[in-house]
């Protein structure tokens, strides 16, 4: 998927004017945030589990060389194949080659963010395969030709009316000519249409929530059951996963599963949690004959070596975006690439280029809510600050910004001058604004005063007030 992250300001401006998106985002914060809170409170062990989850990943990442090799061995032992890809293009080529070799015509997909990162649907389309997304949200977006706007709830920005229109257009040739307007009817229509895709597909491609080194298994977590049909019915199952999905053992997986559902949707556990290991056994009545895993790096081994290693703990629950005031205002599409919200603002520059997503790490108030709710305690604000530092060192931020920051830096390094100037500015502003008590216009700060008033400074500067207080104490 081509990144539009450089366009953040324009796209977020559009998002703020979209009334449906705004109400959907409000529902999201009411729904997911509230159910996560209840679910976390109902489990006394939750905070301790978060520490444990963090420790499991820290240990795994420190020994990723061992766990990747062990995982590969175990997959091969269970009759599967492991393929390695440095880049999304390499990963797509491996996937289309496997489909070619299987003489496949139809491919079905279970929802995965790594698939979006790879741009696998476009690659499959170009290679001439008929590809169908099976997660309802992703399917709707496939018809609409849009990217997901949330990593867990990909189609939250779509209205029921839009979905009715899409189904009416695309399902007509499948015999569904009536325009459905009820939610239940829409879900049932999609179920029937997609059922045919499931049954006729030659290859099923899923992601993986976790890969287990102990057993060579992959775990898929869903509520719809589409991932399970995708990996059970076709004769070939391909798992696409990043190298940071590997964890040591089934025991570790259970700890992380307890965190994932609660943090993502406020569920103790999703409807379906499935462990898949190798192809069908000789005596089995169903299941795929071939099992392939494509392991994608795409910059993660670089992050493993630098200060962004913490980001590799991410289990893609989406809690950070659910709790982010910026995501909550502009939604996922404004971020312009696969991963939105705080985790996206850290990952996107690493994956599409530091100079191509300059606004993202700056679209953050550093309020820290993302870090407060991250199940594996990723210090997201710290990582966003690190991006800002990188940008500044490489001169990727705008010259106006650098000029302003330069002025501030000069004064910050000369505290006496700083205090002198703030005293003057304050007294000037204080006398100018005394009558109204607020400023509703201000040179160089139009963007700010357009939306709110700036109160007139009152009394002394903070530092002067502080000094006075200290003097009082001494006396």
């Amino acid at each position: 998927m081509e990144s539009k992250s450089h366009d953040f300001k324009v796209r977020s401006g559009q998002a703020l004017k979209d009334p449906f998106l705004q109400s959907a985002l409000e529902n999201l914060s009411l729904g997911f945030v509230e159910s996560r809170r209840k679910c976390a409170e109902a489990l006394p062990e939750f905070e301790a589990l978060r520490d444990l989850g963090k420790n499991i990943y820290d240990h795994t990442l420190e020994n990723l060389d061992f766990y990747l090799r062990r995982y590969e061995e175990k997959v091969i032992e269970s009759g599967g194949h492991v393929h390695w890809a440095s880049t999304p293009d390499e990963a797509c080529r491996i996937a289309t080659d496997i489909c070619d070799q299987a003489k496949a015509k139809k491919v079905i997909r279970g929802k995965s963010m790594i698939g979006e990162e790879m741009g696998i649907n476009d690659a499959l389309d170009e290679a001439g395969f008929e590809t169908t997304e099976t997660d309802l949200g992703e399917y709707i977006l496939q018809l609409a030709e849009e990217p997901p706007s949330h990593i867990v709830a990909p189609a939250i920005h779509k209205t029921k009316d839009e979905i009715s229109d899409l189904f009416q257009v695309y399902h007509a040739d499948r015999g569904f000519t009536e325009r459905q307007t009820e939610r239940t009817a829409l879900v049932q229509e999609a179920r029937q249409v997609l059922r045919e895709s499931f049954i006729s597909a030659d290859v099923g491609i899923t992601g993986a929530n976790f890969l287990i080194a102990e057993t060579g298994s992959n775990i898929i977590v869903t509520n719809e059951g589409n991932g399970d049909l995708t990996c059970t019915l076709p004769k070939v199952h391909i798992v696409t996963a990043a190298i940071d999905k590997v964890i040591p053992s089934v025991e570790d997986a259970m700890v992380l599963l307890r965190l994932l559902g609660r943090s993502a949707t406020g569920q103790e556990i999703t409807a379906y949690t499935t462990f898949t290991t190798g192809p069908k056994r000789a005596e089995d009545d169903d299941g795929p004959e071939e099992y392939h895993v494509i392991l994608l790096d795409n910059g993660r081994s670089t992050m493993l070596a630098n200060e962004f290693r913490d980001m590799l703990r991410c289990i893609r629950c989406g809690a950070c975006m659910n709790h982010c005031p910026v995501y909550g205002s502009v939604g996922g599409h404004a971020y312009g690439w696969v991963y939105p919200g705080p985790m996206g603002s850290v990952l996107t520059p690493m994956m599409v280029g530091l100079d191509k997503a300059v606004d993202l790490p700056n679209a953050c108030t550093l309020n820290g809510r993302c870090q407060d709710v991250c199940p594996v305690r990723i210090p997201l604000p710290k990582l966003l600050r690190a991006h800002r530092t990188w940008q500044h060192e490489r001169k990727f931020n705008s010259s106006v910004f650098r000029f302003g920051l330069g002025i501030w830096t000069f004064f910050a390094r000369h505290p006496n001058l700083y205090q002198f100037c703030t005293r003057i500015v304050m007294s000037v502003m204080g006398s100018l604004g005394r009558r109204k008590g607020v400023f509703n216009r201000m040179p160089f700060a139009g963007g700010w005063t357009q939306a709110r008033d700036l109160p007139t400074p009152q009394g002394k500067t903070f530092q002067a007030a502080w000094r006075a207080k200290q003097r009082e104490k001494k006396q």
């Binding site: 729904g31 062990e45 240990h59 020994n63 060389d65 061992f66 766990y67 990747l68 062990r70 269970s78 390695w84 890809a85 440095s86 390499e90 309802l136 709830a153 189609a155 939250i156 779509k158 029921k160 979905i163 829409l186 879900v187 999609a190 997609l194 499931f198 080194a213 509520n223 719809e224 059951g225 589409n226 399970d228 049909l229 059970t232 190298i243 025991e251 259970m254 700890v255 307890r258 556990i269 999703t270 409807a271 379906y272 949690t273 499935t274 462990f275 290991t277 190798g278 192809p279 069908k280 056994r281 005596e283 089995d284 169903d286 299941g287 392991l295 790096d297 081994s301 670089t302 070596a305």
Partner: protein, 218 residues
């Protein structure tokens, strides 16, 4: 893509700061994989049967807790009648399902499901009290399609199969030689989706109804 493999593993090795893993580290890491850890697991004081049933009911499954094999058969019939579902089922070819007095009017096919089947009956390997999850594994007597293709999924479970935590459920799914099957499903409620305007709908792709019959020990 062997080249990509070497490149990635080299970069990972560089990042973790070692060319190769010395035997001592290898042994320690292998030991961590094989340990039975005494790590944190959720605890509770509720009655196990009551907790298990209520966890499942919370996620919109129907649960019958019954005393006798005859009641198991009755529960199946009333579930089908109540939901106006045809009295024909695909029943897993699992010997554990032989011993119930199935009524004669129930048309039973002992085989894997096909796309036309409306209802499947399977036997679980375990029930996890922690979450109300059913543990099912793939094997000739229990094909995975049965858990996902039909509209209705009926699962039969014995009280002695209830285990405490998810970890215990996993162990019940392994075969006698600790071998890992192709598929282990933890199923907790019917299929659902909130992808249209964040409102819950049941029966997205998998079963619209999940009916669990728990037979108490005598």
């Amino acid at each position: 893509m062997t080249l990509a493999r070497e490149k990635i593993l080299d970069r990972v090795a560089l990042a973790v700061g070692r060319d190769r893993i010395d035997p001592k580290t290898e042994a320690a890491l292998t030991k961590r994989l094989n340990r039975i850890p005494t790590i944190l697991r959720p605890q509770w004081d509720d009655n196990p049967v009551r907790r298990f049933a209520s966890k499942l009911r919370d996620v919109a499954a129907s649960v019958d807790v019954v005393d006798s094999p005859a009641d198991v058969a009755k529960s199946v019939s009333s579930f089908l009648l109540e939901n106006d579902v045809p009295l024909a089922v695909a029943m897993a070819p699992d010997d554990r399902l032989n011993d119930y007095p199935w009524p004669e009017y129930l048309k039973i096919s002992r085989r894997n499901v096909n796309p036309k089947d409306v209802t499947a009956i399977t036997a679980a390997e375990a029930g996890v009290i922690e979450t109300g999850s059913l543990v099912l594994r793939s094997k000739p007597q229990s094909p995975t399609s049965m858990n996902f293709l039909p509209e209705n999924h009926i699962v039969i479970l014995l009280q002695e199969q209830l285990v405490k935590n998810l970890e215990d459920g996993w162990r019940c799914a392994l075969d006698s030689s600790n071998g890992v099957p192709r598929t282990v499903n933890f199923i907790t409620g019917p299929s659902k989706t909130a992808d249209i305007e964040q409102t819950m709908e049941y029966g997205a792709h998998g079963p619209r109804r999940l009916h669990v019959i728990l037979l108490l020990a005598t």
